[in-house]
Point group: none
Chain length 186, copies 4
DNA sequence: GATGAATGAGCGTTCATTCAT
DNA sequence: TATGAATGAACGCTCATTCAT
């Protein structure tokens, strides 16, 4: 019946539950029950509970690092930054539930090894976007352009619309903020 | 030894730990130890762990409700909305650690009774701010103006500056977004 | 407001709750809350939780001992025994809730000092009633006559009738059993 | 080490301790220690403490229900009722410790789900035995015939004799009471 | 005559984890 | 690939009890 896909099914169910009820409140028992297997089976596939989370983020590190690497090789101008936002938006799209999980479990993430590593990436992206010597309000605009995209994906569930349309609208607003920030700085 | 201030000290330590390590990961034992009392002492002052959180939010509900009430009696124009943002910023200022806690423990808050109640308030504020029939990007701008203020207070710890200056900068950016959203809608 | 009657009110409420929910499941907090006083107030009137129970039984020991003493001075014939049952029935009537409590918390009573003391009294009554050298079935009849009266008062709540009428009926049946037991033994 | 018999050993030890010291006063720690396992091990085999009790009663429900079912299909005459007592006595024999536990923890049983269910069965038996329109004393005789058998098994520990002989003596007395009750009613 | 504040011990329960099979 | 059985640690919570005021 279950072929080699059990590992994947664990990841799916785990992400679903972690996102829905939080990392701490989701027990391995629950995950196992949802899957119709034993807790011990999870331990055949993953060394620890944290390991499951780590595996979830595995596919995400690559694209992020690539984005950072690409941006580092570009001139640090507005055009590059707008493209960074665009590409980041795309990354977010493909990992929406994961980002929702991150967003809603920040306190927990801070204690998970993987958390630090993603916080680092975020900081690097921010460094790329940021205008370090501009006025405070422009710095805020830069930061906000990034965080708006995070929040935009999950917190704005009030607005009913096609997800893809919403993503593009969020991206547009974020890019606009970044552009405003760069008025007079180049 | 400790007089009538124990209840308050519990609240202080609890907030500190909840904010630092998350609600679930903070045990009553830890809180008690930090205070030099027994777990049972906490239960003399609070009925449950959740009750401690509720008490923390108690002083916050009032100001929020007042703000909502005030706004409901005003014309729903840009001027009113800008003032709502300004006042909300002030509320946030006085309850910064609490909002940080909310922000970072969203998954947990969702399961706490108090969480629902604050989500409700947020939705009402959003209703007041929102332009329901505008283009998607303008709706996003409205939402983002509110959430930027939340995120702005705690997530932008990268930007080093006087907290009050930062708050005003965040407010300025948020108000600007809202103004942009209202261009052509009145 | 509350004069010297607090001690009594504690006893009343305690008995009520002990009978309703059992000794172990009834906490001093509950008793105190029912009375509108603090737990500590209970400790002003009684040294321990067990002490409350003991005090409840205080008024009961006397009549029982008197009954035993009286019977010991009488000839050990059927007539005496029937009178013992009659008098015991009267004692039971005046302490109905207390006996219900005993009956329903036997396991607990066994661990309470007062329990042993009442078990002792019961054994003495049984000794008085019993026909030690009779056939087994007659011995059972003697024992049963006593226990029927216990059970009869509280377990037979199915039968709807005036309590006093029921008591007399129970007594009649018990006496009848005892009489049957004594057929051929004198 | 211990094979598939742990579950059973838990039941045995639990029943022993519940009967000896009462349900509330018997902690899971005690049970575990008696078995040389951890508290957590108990939870591998039973979902809750109450679940252990429920499992103890599991084998008992069937025979009782069968008895009730059988009696319901018979004419409601004395002969049937005497046979009911006889069969019930046999059921009691096979579950003596369990009945002792019930008897001595009535207050507790009332709060346990299983308690209600057994009270229900008892009421049905009583309904079968009872003479609803007879004089009070005859109704008492009917009830008492049933309760005598309960009490007879455990409360009459004073009488030293072979348990089986005692059981038969108790049954005889109970049947006799029932017969007396039916004099003149048919 | 009673309270406010606290304690120490213990409870039932759940958890992530282990390991022989 | 997985399970059955178990563990040790911790958790949130309640209890009877104490004592200064």
């Amino acid at each position: 019946m279950s072929r080699g896909n059990t590992r994947q099914r664990i990841q799916e169910v785990a992400l679903e539950l972690f996102a829905a009820r939080g990392y701490e409140k989701t027990s391995l028992r629950e995950i196992a029950e949802h899957l119709g297997v034993t807790k011990a089976a999870l331990y055949y596939h993953f060394k620890t509970k944290e390991d499951i989370v780590i595996s979830l983020f595995e596919d995400l590190g690559g694209p992020c690092d690539e984005l950072i690497a690409w941006a580092s090789g570009q001139p640090s101008d507005l055009e590059t930054k707008l493209e960074v936002l665009r590409r980041y938006s795309e990354v977010l799209k493909h990992a929406a539930p994961l980002f929702r999980f991150m967003q809603e479990n920040q306190a927990t993430m801070r204690e998970l090894s993987i958390g630090e590593s993603f916080k680092g990436r975020l900081m690097k992206l921010l460094d790329i976007i940021q205008l370090p010597d501009a006025e405070l309000s422009d710095q805020v605009r830069c930061s906000a352009s990034l965080f708006t995209m995070h929040a935009g994906m999950f917190t704005m569930q009030t607005i009913e619309a096609d997800p893809e349309d919403k993503r593009l609208a969020v991206l547009e607003v974020a890019q606009e903020m970044l552009t405003t920030a760069h008025k007079g700085h180049d």
